[in-house]
């Protein structure tokens, strides 16, 4: 009986350990992130950002949750719809995970006289696991192509 108990305990311990050290499902993580953009949930997007998140786009490089939330998330959220990503490369381990590829998005007009636009570009989202075991967006880089008029 005793050996059986020990074996069970050992198995349970090993299972528990392996669960915590499993790589994150980065596809699901990004899916949640993109969904938050499409549902216009600024708070949800911001909650994904790490405190020391870095954002690079064109000539801009913003650092820190508040700056990135203000200058990227809140400034961009009202201007877009229907964000889609197409993953070209991804990877994950127990500490970091990333997805990179291309994106497309509907660009809303800034005035009534302007037409809708279609934006495309390249992205990389790098996630890191925090001390509280939650995954946060640590680095985001976007490279946008010129916005075309939607036909």
């Amino acid at each position: 009986m005793k050996p059986f108990l020990y074996m069970s305990l050992l198995t349970a311990l090993a299972t528990a350990c392996s669960t915590t050290s499993e790589p994150v499902n980065v596809q699901e993580l990004n899916q949640q992130f993109i969904t938050a953009w499409n549902t216009k949930s600024a708070d949800k997007i911001t909650s994904f950002l790490a405190d020391d998140v870095q954002f690079v786009q064109g000539s801009s490089h913003w650092t820190g949750k508040s700056e990135v939330a203000s200058k990227w998330v809140q400034a961009t959220l009202p201007t877009l719809n229907d964000l889609k990503t197409s993953v070209v490369s991804s990877g994950a381990d127990t500490k970091t995970a990333y997805e990179a590829g291309t994106f497309s998005v509907d660009v809303l007009p800034t005035s009534t006289s302007e037409p809708h636009g279609v934006g495309e570009g390249n992205f990389i989202l790098l996630w890191k696991k925090g001390e509280d075991n939650s995954w946060k967006l640590s680095y985001a880089q976007l490279e946008d192509l010129p916005v075309r008029v939607k036909q």
Partner: protein
């Protein structure tokens, strides 16, 4: 003796002048500079020979060199004038092309595969300004890549703190 020399010089001059029209035909394919140099050298040599009575050969050589230089300068001036006229004509022709948005320069070309060449350029909806890609301006000249889309102007143009603030066309989408 002196009379014979003078006569031969006169004959030479007549020959040069008579041959001028023939030369003109031959020189048609030459550049204006080359033409000027040749004509200047010939005329200068003859003039030099006439002027320097003591030594016709030296006079001819000096006259030829000076004439060649002067002829080249005249030819260069003509060539410059022609190039300027051609450039102005090309500028007038390109000014006749339809312009989408006044005061907007053309965007840098962005590589896109094109089926674009086959597409006809659609006019954008009235009431907004869109930048027309450079490749569309040269309508009759199909390129290996071409753009047939119009791009939105950048509402943040001139704002150096914006991610793409220095591009005339709108680039930020996400």
């Amino acid at each position: 003796m002196k009379t014979t020399r003078n006569s031969s010089i006169l004959i030479l001059l007549v020959l040069i002048l008579a041959g001028h029209s023939m030369q003109a035909q031959i020189l048609k394919s030459w550049s204006p500079q080359a033409k000027g140099t040749a004509i200047g050298a010939g005329t200068g040599a003859a003039a030099g020979a006439v002027i320097n009575k003591r030594n016709r050969v030296v006079g001819g050589v000096i006259g030829g060199v000076i004439g060649a230089g002067a002829g080249y300068a005249v030819g260069k001036h003509i060539d410059n004038k022609r190039k300027k006229a051609a450039w102005e004509a090309a500028a007038r022709q390109s000014a006749g092309q339809p312009v989408l948005a006044a005061g907007q320069s053309q965007t840098p070309s962005i590589t896109k595969h094109a089926s674009a060449v086959a597409h006809s350029a659609k006019a954008p909806a009235p009431g907004f300004s869109a930048v027309r890609p450079a490749s569309q301006a040269a309508a009759s000249k199909p390129a290996s890549y071409e753009l047939n889309e119009y791009y939105l102007t950048n509402p943040f143009y001139g704002d150096a703190t914006a991610p793409y603030g220095m591009t005339e066309y709108r680039q930020k989408s996400w």
